[in-house]
């Protein structure tokens, strides 16, 4: 988790800003409050993970049980029910679309930042505006076209759509990272006679690679979590993990623990990706407007 190190600087600032005149009691009360709020807000997720390790009999108790003998039975049941192929589809769609996004977005961001072309602003705002149009308005023709070319229930359909979905965010994020590359560094490199390819590799790449990693993680989160296209355009063969979870809304019965096991499996990869990328999360979601 990158949080603690990155937090240190602003934290130190706050400390020096808040002089000792504030009561120590008030300060520790606020700390306790922050802990209560944090744990309370997180509790549903903690409860989900706990329930995933219960027997169904332990999941259905009133009052709810906090202590129980943990079991892996529910995870076994979920894999027996066939979550495996769904996880693999999600993994494939997420990884391939993220690679495509980076392959398209990095040169584009480079073109609009380091080596600016004309009408840069128009292009950038075109990218953003595609993100603001509701997908639901496009689903009907997409469905018709995909159906006509015989690509329903095909993982590549999702890959193409996820690439388009994440591309604007990636272009804007990568642009803000390219802008952090000191211009003098590039100029010096080209003075020394370095080719563009070499100066890109040796000067630009080291500076932007952390930003590239953050961009990739954010694309991973969005692609993995996507549901609308997946549920409308895929069926048994290409369906992703969120579609697997749909199975739980129709069947009635005692299945809390199994459901929690499936939900935990579905959410775990993106939660980890998000924890790693948390410092760049806002930057990505606000198209780089906030750093």
């Amino acid at each position: 988790m990158a949080a603690p190190t990155a937090e240190r600087a602003p934290a130190a600032r706050t400390e020096e800003l808040a002089p000792a005149k504030k009561g120590k009691v008030g300060s520790s009360l606020l700390t306790v409050l922050a802990w209560i709020v944090g744990i309370g807000f997180f509790f549903p997720i903690l409860w989900m993970v706990l329930t995933a390790f219960k027997q169904e009999a332990d999941a259905y108790t009133s009052p709810p049980k906090l202590f129980f003998t943990p079991t892996l039975e529910q995870f076994r049941t979920v894999f027996d029910a066939g979550i495996g192929p769904y996880l693999l589809n999600s993994l494939f769609a997420t990884v391939v679309s993220t690679i495509l996004v980076l392959a398209l977005a990095t040169p584009a961001a480079f073109a609009v930042s380091l080596r600016p072309v004309k009408k840069v602003q128009d292009v950038l705002f075109f990218f953003i505006s595609t993100k603001m149009l509701p997908v639901v308005a496009a689903i009907v023709p997409i469905y018709v076209v995909v159906n006509n070319v015989g690509m329903l229930d095909n993982i590549w359909t999702l890959i193409i759509l996820y690439t388009a979905m994440n591309l604007p965010i990636a272009v804007w994020m990568m642009r803000s990272f390219f802008q952090e590359v000191p211009k003098e560094l590039l100029e010096a490199a080209s003075m020394d006679g370095a080719s563009l390819a070499r100066s890109l590799r040796e000067v630009v790449l080291p500076v932007i690679s952390p930003g590239m990693a953050a961009t990739a993680l954010i694309c991973v989160i969005f692609a993995w979590n996507e549901f609308f296209f997946a549920v409308n355009l895929t069926a048994a063969r290409a369906a992703t993990v969120p579609v697997f979870l749909v199975g739980f809304i129709t069947s009635e019965g005692l299945y809390f623990a199994k459901l929690c096991a499936a939900a935990t499996l579905a959410a775990l990869p993106v939660v980890i990706a998000g924890w790693i990328a948390q410092n760049k999360l806002v930057q990505g979601l606000s198209f780089g407007a906030v750093k």
Binding site: A3, P10, A11, R13, E15, S27, A34, G38, F41, P44, I45, W47, T51, A105, P107, A108, A111, P116, V117, K118, V120, Q121, V123, F126, K131, M132, L133, P134, V135, V136, A137, A138, I139, V140, P141, Y143, V144, I160, L161, A164, L167, P168, F227, F228, N232, L245, V246, F248, I249, F256, A263, A266, A267, V271, G274, W275, L281, S286, V290, K291
Partner: protein, 313 residues
């Protein structure tokens, strides 16, 4: 930055045939941008043109041969459809409610986190997690483990207050969906406002304190005006993402009972994929796009201002 970046090109009035600034050079500079641009235009813009085209036709997939050009009939049907109006109202209520409450909670959480305390990074990590968790999984969690009338955590927690076994999702479907959305979106608002709080100009805060302003005074006179831009950004970005809410409604209520908790995306989905009415759903899609463009215009202006503002400082 973009403004200054454009300048070199503008400063070259006459373009030489070769070398920097020439037409060929312009294309070389443009080339890296083109794949992304062309791809985006094809995948995201072409479908909308088809949507407009379909919206002028009467076309139901379950009635082969029914396809014919009908002009604006679909639009007249959309605007005289009382269900559509209710669903549009639901969309406004759901979006506005979720944005407002997540913004307020996010502000409170951000203020709690904007000070040094033991475990700050850890608590922040916990607080952002609801935003990361797969929306479908989150909605399922709320529908069952939290909102279940008999075994749900919510009724257990509220039982001392006499909640009994309220069936939240049947009784308050729209509110239940909104609660799940607020839980998911509060972290986003918190992160945005926290970024705002931490970018406050150090010297202004110091000066206000030296001038004898108390904590509340500093907050009101310095912090709130500074946060304004971040709050506005939170409202428009939150609205743009939340207006498209589909997962939570699909998983928790299926828009029901009736259309009590359906929003426009869900209703259009129902019309297209359960009613197979291509013409009607396309017309609704166009109406939603027009409404979104109005909101998005404000958003673009705001993001643009944030950029120029951010780069001046």
């Amino acid at each position: 930055m973009t403004v200054t970046a454009e300048r070199p090109a503008e400063l070259t009035p006459r373009r030489p045939d070769r070398g920097p600034g020439s037409r060929a050079d312009g294309w070389i500079r443009r080339a890296p941008l083109l794949p992304a641009l062309v791809f985006t235009i094809i995948v995201t813009q072409l479908p909308f043109l088809f949507t407009i085209y379909y919206s002028l036709q009467s076309w139901n997939l379950v009635r082969p041969g029914s396809r014919q050009f009908v002009g604006v009939d679909n639009y007249i049907l959309v605007f005289t459809d009382s269900q559509f109006r209710q669903v549009a109202l639901n969309t406004v209520l759901l979006t506005a409610g979720a944005v407002l409450f997540s913004l307020l909670l996010g502000l409170l959480f951000a203020l709690l986190l904007d000070r040094a305390f033991f475990g700050r990074g850890f608590i922040r990590t916990l607080l952002i997690t609801p935003f990361l968790i797969t929306p479908v999984a989150a909605a399922l969690l709320w529908k069952t483990v939290l909102f279940d009338p008999t075994y749900g955590l919510i009724n257990f927690v509220l039982s001392p207050f006499g909640a009994g076994d309220t069936d939240w999702i049947s009784t308050f479907p729209l509110t239940s969906v909104m609660i799940a959305l607020v839980w998911q979106w509060t972290p986003f608002m918190m992160l945005l406002i926290l970024a705002g709080l931490q970018s406050q100009p150090h010297d202004v805060l110091e000066a206000a304190r030296v001038d004898g302003a108390n904590t509340w005074g500093v907050f009101r006179e310095v912090t709130i005006p500074h946060l304004r831009r971040f709050i506005e950004l939170g409202i428009v970005l939150g609205a743009i993402y939340l207006i498209n809410t589909f997962d939570a409604i699909y998983m928790m209520t299926q828009g029901g009972p009736g259309t009590a908790s359906a929003n426009l995306p869900f209703y259009i989905y129902q019309r297209a994929f359960l009613g197979f009415d291509i013409g009607q759903s396309a017309a609704m899609g166009v109406v939603v796009v027009v409404a979104t463009i109005i909101v998005a215009t404000f958003a673009l202006r705001l993001i643009f201002r944030s950029f120029s503002g951010g780069e001046e400082t």
